[in-house]
Each structure stands twice: as structure tokens, then as C-alpha cells.
């Protein structure tokens, strides 16, 4: 299950997707919108994606995770558009036969997604906004 969505991520559907009889472990990472950054109050986040390339990159991350770990099922879902504090921006769920591989695969997927998938995030403050990580 690989998705970009402009509506709230359906966590239950992601979990249902990865649960199989042969998996002894399901690991889920949820990236949520934090209310502050560097002691500055964040009002909301705005995400945008280069959608076709983002999906292509997410597909290739999924394929690489399957090569590296005995992944039974996985879900890789990223939200786009305006997100309020506390909402889920990204959900990654991985099922594997044993827990160690589920933790490792899930961690690798979120770390690599942040590095290579063309998605951008704007933090909106009370007095302005900034594209996260854009400047040195």
C-alpha cells in the first residue's frame, strides 16, 4: 500500500493491510505534526509533493526494503496539503516474521524517505513561515 493523500491517513486501514498470518511482528511509525520547533510555536504545516516522482521513489524504497528484509506486507503513506497540530503526516507499517526485521525495515524506510522522496514541508508560525531544511 503506497499512497499520497490529501485527507487524513487511515491508520486502521494501513494496519489491516500489513497484518498477515505469517507475520509475527508489525512495526508502525507515525510522523506527527509538532506544535513547536526551536522554541517557536508552529500553527500548522503545509506539505507538497512532486507526486509522480514521490510515488515512484516510495515504490523503489518498498522494493529495496523487500530485498533487505523478509517483509510480508508494508504500507507507506504520506499526507500532503495543510496539516494541523497532532495530525499524522506519514505512516509506515511493516510486517515481518520476527520483530527485529520489522523495527529495522521501518526505521530504514522513514530515514530514507526523508532523504530522497520529493516532498516539501512549510512550517507556518504566527508571524511568518519557512520551508523546512531549505537553507544551510
Amino acid at each position: 500500500m503506497i499512497l499520497l493523500t490529501d485527507t487524513p491517513i487511515d491508520l486502521a486501514a494501513a494496519l489491516a493491510h500489513v497484518q498477515t498470518g505469517s507475520a509475527g511482528a508489525v512495526d508502525v511509525f507515525i510522523g506527527t505534526v509538532r506544535n513547536q520547533t526551536a522554541q517557536k510555536r508552529v500553527v500548522r504545516l503545509e506539505y507538497e509533493a512532486y507526486a509522480p516522482m514521490a510515488l515512484k521513489k516510495m515504490e523503489s524504497l518498498a522494493a529495496e526494503a523487500r530485498r533487505r528484509w523478509p517483509v510480508e506486507r508494508l504500507a507507506l503513506i504520506h499526507r500532503v496539503g495543510v496539516l494541523e497540530i497532532g495530525e499524522a503526516a506519514v505512516v509506515i507499517a511493516v510486517s515481518t516474521p520476527h520483530r527485529a526485521e520489522a523495527f529495522e525495515a521501518c526505521r530504514w524506510l522513514i530515514d530514507t524517505l526523508k532523504d530522497v522522496v520529493p516532498i516539501w514541508k512549510k512550517e507556518v508560525f504566527e508571524d511568518g513561515d519557512v520551508w523546512v531544511a531549505a537553507h544551510a
Binding site: 506539505y47 516522482m53 516539501w120
Partner: protein
């Protein structure tokens, strides 16, 4: 070097064609240009590196970014890669998903 081969092979084609190049812009790159696409005349062959040089000259704020990459047909491209007519080009400022 596959890039060299491609350059040699397509150079003539590019010299004879008057093309425009449309570049998709996202995030801070869209703010810097003030539009979601940018169209350049591409009457001669362009490499990814030459495109970046030109964009940095036209929009000096690009030089302030932590990184600036070009995607050609939805794949990250190295600077020697030649841009061909009909390629899908996007400017990729530092990504920040998650």
C-alpha cells in the same frame, strides 16, 4: 561514460531544433521564481549542470539553498546528463518529508 555517449549522439538533433524547456518548481524553488513552472528557450543542447548554472544566474537566491537538484523524467540527474526534448524536468530543492 553513458552521458558522453548520449551527448554525442543527440548533439546534432538539439542544434537544429528550437525547443522550449518547461521546468516544474516546488517548495522554496516555486517561491523564489514566483511561479509553479518556468519555461526557457532551449535552442541548443543543455546539460543538467548548465541548466543549474543558468538558473543560479537568473535567480541568485538559488545559491542560498542547502542543495538544488534536477530530476529528469522523475529520476535524480547528475550534472553531465543531457536534457532532451520532451524530458520531464523538475527542480528539487532540499526535501523535507516525514
Amino acid at each position: 561514460m553513458p552521458e558522453r555517449y548520449a551527448e554525442k549522439r543527440f548533439a546534432g538533433y538539439f542544434c537544429t531544433m528550437a525547443q522550449t524547456l518547461t521546468i516544474a518548481l516546488f517548495g522554496v524553488a516555486r517561491d523564489i521564481v514566483g511561479a509553479s513552472t518556468l519555461t526557457l528557450p532551449a535552442q541548443k543542447q543543455f546539460t543538467v549542470g548548465q541548466l543549474l548554472e543558468r538558473l543560479r544566474a537568473d535567480y541568485p537566491r538559488f545559491t542560498e539553498l542547502r542543495s538544488l537538484l534536477v530530476a529528469v523524467n522523475q529520476e535524480y540527474a547528475e550534472t553531465p546528463q543531457l536534457i532532451r526534448a520532451g524530458d520531464e524536468i523538475a527542480l528539487i530543492p532540499p526535501v523535507a518529508g516525514g
